[in-house]
Amino acid sequence: MEFNSFEGAEHWPFILKINLVLSLFFLVLTLAFVALVIYLRIRKNRMEAYRTRFDRKLIEFFNHFLFDEDFKRAAELGDFKFRYLKTAYDHKLAIKQVLIFDENLKGESSEAIKELFNGLGLYKYLLSDLKAKAWYRQARALYALSKLGIKVPEALVTPFLHSNRVELRQQAMLYFLNTSQENPLAFLDDLDRELSLWQQVFIENSLINFDLEVPDFGRWLNHDKSSVVVFCIKMVVSFNQFQNIPLLIEALDHTDEGVRAQAINSLKIMEVTDALQLMTANFPYESPSNKRAILYAIEKIGTAKDLRTLVSAIGREEENLQIDYYKIATRFENEIPVRKLINPDNITNDWADYQYYSKRVLQGA
């Protein structure tokens, strides 16, 4: 059939009609998609151009505000706010520039930046962000407030410590670390979720790098969350808080295996020989990894006798522990003649002999 016009289209075969409809549909779809891509590109370019212009305006205004002595601050602030800060995007750009200025300047200028921040109504804007429903707005507000060290009512931030989103919990911690001068870790009291390893490292780095007031970590050694206790035990060692040694010894009886492991290692590092008695008493009931930790603690701070008392608590099937024991026993070579007893091909049977031998030694035979 030769196509001349659409006249008589109603008599076209059905398949041809379908073909035409689908062709038109996909043509329209393609055109719409191309139009959308072009529109988005133009929009992006326009926003980019607007951002560049607005950033320039902000920098110029901020420079006048900070360095121009003839600048009428109060009047100009009101005028700038009224004329330029209209949309949420304008506020976002202004906050970003405030953060950049604050990051690069210190001294009098840093104080003036805070004045600028309040004067432009950015504090109020961030408060509204904190109360917003979108988590990313809340996180952004927390980030800006903590970077600038600006305090808001604690009740507004504390709920974020319990947020389901890790980003919000993280930012809330950062906020408390940066804004609490006297006890930057007081927020640990309110934590009802475990601290991730990354968060622990983050808090420790903040304490060191921001030169924050180091609290007495003994305060959280009975915390509900075992990760908080583990972190605090590590900090007791890092900051040499010897006054908390009795609490570290108590932690050897903690219900959580990880806490006990950290306590064993920390007491070893701090060379607390008073802890050996409890460690050896707990040894038979410990997990294999904690048993190993105790063996190595004895290597560092214990005696041959301490080591020998553990022999009966190492089962015939615990070959790895037996090897660790032999390795450590070589340190006490004069008192524990292990080399004569070790037969690598027959370690399990050897161990039984060795247990019997050690028992007799301990009994003074």
């Binding site: 950033d55 360095f67 200025f101 604050d102 990051e103 690069n104 300047l105 210190k106 009098e108 200028s109």
Partner: protein
């Protein structure tokens, strides 16, 4: 001359130093800085160490070979002792760390120029 790639810092330095009565020329990367240094003479150079295309150390070497008497002030985020020591060994006159106090920087510029 200010050699710095952060637009905010550039504008602030330009504004502050102009307010103090200096003529400020800006180079936002190492290559531009070298070109300008070859073409014109400057009384003082304020430079960052982290720059596009050419590193701060190369810039300092270049300045020392082209115009050895011009005082150099480094403005950097680095607080590492070895970097600061290396800069002084290369012949810089002063080292200011970011964040910086604009008033303090102004005084240091004045003092460095007074020595010339």
């Amino acid at each position: 001359m200010v050699i710095e790639d952060n637009p905010m810092v550039v504008k602030s330095l330009e504004f502050k130093l102009s307010k103090d009565g200096y003529d400020v020329v800006v180079a936002e990367d190492g290559r531009t800085a070298m070109k300008l240094l070859s073409e014109s003479a400057f009384d003082l150079i304020l430079t960052d160490l982290m720059l596009p295309f050419v590193s701060g150390n190369e810039i300092i070497e270049f300045i020392k070979s082209e115009c050895p008497d011009v005082p150099i002030i480094v403005l950097s985020t680095s607080t590492q002792e070895d970097i600061i020591t290396e800069a002084f060994t290369m012949g810089v006159d002063d080292f200011i760390t970011k964040p910086f106090s604009p008033n303090e920087l102004s005084l240091r510029v004045k003092r460095s120029l007074a020595k010339v």
